[in-house]
């Protein structure tokens, strides 16, 4: 058996943390959705993401081999040890902001997970196959909303455009590759995110055009999450997410 490359663990953390953090951000809508049906829809998407993160963290724990399970990795790492992209940790904002972010991330996730179904790590390939199905629905849900809001009233258009303007500078990080990505890609275990950018841009461009929204000119793309350099928002979010598990270590329910 060939040894597992040491970069598989941090690679799995990146995949898991994107979904765990975004899943938690979405869960903040529970009970606050604009209408009951949408409240349920957002909670469903949130649960899909947290479910994907659970499986990825479990696999990451096995690969690491130091006895950390998915709960240990989710609840007992500090923000500097999280490897999610900055986009997913930003506060949930208004419904327009949330739904534009969902479109941006879901489309990225669909392309990424589709490629990962061919991973030589059988566990990761299996998780990806499940995530592809879910992501396809997430894209459909968010795209329909972006078009409805963008091509809606003056106010919904303005808010959605503002969300696109604010979020665009965080999209670049999703497609930046470093040594870990390249090693994973070369080993047939992962996918180099640079290879996903073209299709993502084409798909997002089409949806934004239908929504009468425009892509802003941004000179600089934010980055840092993949190396653990986060915005202040992540720490606050994790404090809330982790408080119960940390106050009662080992508790079960």
């Amino acid at each position: 058996m060939t040894p597992v490359p040491s970069s598989l663990f941090p690679y799995l953390l990146r995949l898991a943390d994107d979904r765990l953090v975004l899943g938690h951000r979405l869960s903040e809508w529970c009970g606050h959705g604009p209408i009951l049906e949408e409240d349920i829809a957002l909670a469903n998407v949130s649960l899909d993401l947290i479910g994907e993160a659970t499986l990825l963290l479990k696999r990451a724990g096995e690969v690491e081999g130091r006895g950390r399970n998915e709960d240990a990795l989710a609840y007992f790492r500090d923000s500097a040890d999280y490897r999610n992209a900055l986009m997913v940790e930003l506060p949930k904002g208004d419904f327009g902001f949330t739904i534009v972010r969902q479109l941006f991330f879901s489309l990225f996730s669909l392309l990424q997970m589709d490629a990962l179904t061919k991973s030589s790590d059988a566990d990761l390939a299996g998780i990806a196959a499940k995530a592809v199905k879910e992501s396809r629905y997430h894209v459909r849900h968010s795209a329909e909303w972006v078009v409805t809001l963008g091509d809606g009233t003056e106010e919904s258009h303005a808010r959605t455009q503002r969300a696109v303007d604010e979020l665009w500078r965080y999209t670049g990080e999703l497609f930046m590759a470093d040594a870990i990505d390249r090693e994973m890609s070369d080993a047939g275990l992962g996918v180099n995110p640079e290879t996903l950018a073209e299709r993502w841009n084409a798909e997002v461009g089409k949806t934004l055009e239908r929504a009468t929204l425009t892509i802003p000119k941004v000179g600089y793309m934010q980055r840092g999450g993949r190396e653990g350099k986060h915005t202040e928002h992540l720490g606050h979010m994790l404090a809330e997410m982790q408080i119960v598990a940390r106050s009662h270590p080992g508790a079960s329910w």
Binding site: L36, E37, A41, N44, E144, T148, G152, E154
Partner: protein
């Protein structure tokens, strides 16, 4: 999309979105059955909401959504003339046939 006419008149009431009736076809291939209703701003949103509310655990292989306003329904006052089985016209009821042996459910 056009602007709602009452946009300036304050926050929207919480059930401003149109209502849609949801029909699910069970996996066994039977006819679509009424499952309930959802609020939605368009047919596509109604389909997605119906999926999230009524068909997330494999309950259906097909969903229909129909604007509730498009349904013409009988009223309670129709009870008599509409549904009176006409018991004074016994020839309307298939009760003069002998049920063949072997037919258990009739």
């Amino acid at each position: 999309m056009t602007k709602p006419p009452d946009e300036a008149s304050g926050p929207p009431a919480d059930s401003q979105w149109p209502l849609w009736e949801v029909f699910l076809q069970p996996p066994k291939g039977e006819a679509h059955e009424h499952a309930g209703s959802v609020h939605a701003v368009s047919a596509e949103h109604a389909l997605q909401n119906a999926r999230d509310v009524y068909a997330r655990r494999g309950e259906a292989v097909s969903i229909w959504v129909v604007p509730s306003a498009e349904i013409t329904a009988s009223t309670p006052e129709d009870m008599g003339p509409f549904f009176d089985p006409g018991n004074d016209k016994p020839y309307r009821h298939p009760q003069f046939y002998k049920v063949p042996r072997g037919v258990r459910v009739f």
